[in-house]
Symmetry: D2
Subunit: 113 residues, 4 copies
């Protein structure tokens, strides 16, 4: 009733929801972005079937936000990051990506193999 | 390359990861369990393709924990709740469930139709 | 070395940080705002020395955001809520408030009595 | 009506509530503990009046938990960490500490100077 590729995609979705909602709201600045990227990736890589996670916090977008608001830091949200993830469930490889599209962070399946 | 049922399962996974990691850690007691259940369900139902969410906080498990620790509240975690969710993506209906299995909260696909 | 009023203020700050960072990022819409307000208040009222919490999600601000983005929901953040809290520690009553000031959510002590 | 030492203590409490509820629930293992410690400290140091934050994830406690459950990772919670923080508000120096006491993570003021 449920196939391995479907379960692989379900697992990939869990990781994305986890990454986003665990870390959204974290105080972030260009100075702390590198340590946060690394902690986010390593935290999610702990989860089952998660082969690799890459988090890229967008310094340019952060700096633009801080320049506009004259603040030293802001809260992490989707428009400040790009994420790529690979899930391997029973030999099914799922690639996923989160990036901005029309002003919204969109999580999407890139491939299921 | 990616089918509608696969995307439906990915979307279902996102909702589960969101629900768990947004609300895990919330201070909870039997007195506040009902409002938290409702807020969790209604929050996740806002997300795209999410037909229905049902959250059941397990008063018995909460009370056992509080009795043991002599505290008035604890932090929400997987062993204090059961969750059911239905996702509808392009006509594909996905049913999912989270419950304890071998001492761990397990999120699983129940059916993809 | 540490006075009761100081501890009362420390406890008040803990509750504010908890409320904000537990719930920031929650998917919210005008339809789900009431249940979220209630769950946030009841969750924090579980914590020690917390007499009362009032959370007001600002429907007008939410609706303006949704109209601009053509989305059905957004993520909860400081500009969509006002919060008031009363802490009572050893007879010291602390009143606190969070509201927007110069475009930022500011948590502040209103009175210590 | 509100003194600088009281505000300093309020600010210290905000940072503790933030740190705890932003990061509680993060998937953590001995392998990912170092990056999480650093990200937590640097994230909170972004906040106003926060002079320094030190987070120590307790590998021994983590390993004991994982040995008992035969899992590879667990969720971060108070019993797996010790935190120290210094706040400086208008010349008032507040030292705070979180550590386990009677089975509970207790956040406390160490000194206000």
């Amino acid at each position: 009733m449920v196939t391995d590729p479907q379960t692989a995609c379900f697992e990939a979705g869990i990781k994305f929801g986890t990454l986003y909602h665990q870390f959204a709201g974290t105080p972030v600045s260009p100075d702390s972005a590198r340590s946060l990227e690394r902690a986010m990736a390593e935290a999610i890589e702990n989860q089952p079937y998660c082969e690799s996670v890459s988090v890229h916090i967008l310094d340019g977008a952060l700096e633009a936000e801080l320049a506009e608001s004259a603040a030293d830091y802001t809260e992490l949200t989707g428009r400040f990051m790009e994420v790529e993830m690979e899930i391997d469930y029973e030999g099914v490889r799922v690639r996923t990506r989160m990036e901005m599209e029309d002003g919204y962070p969109l999580m999407k399946l890139v491939s299921v193999e």
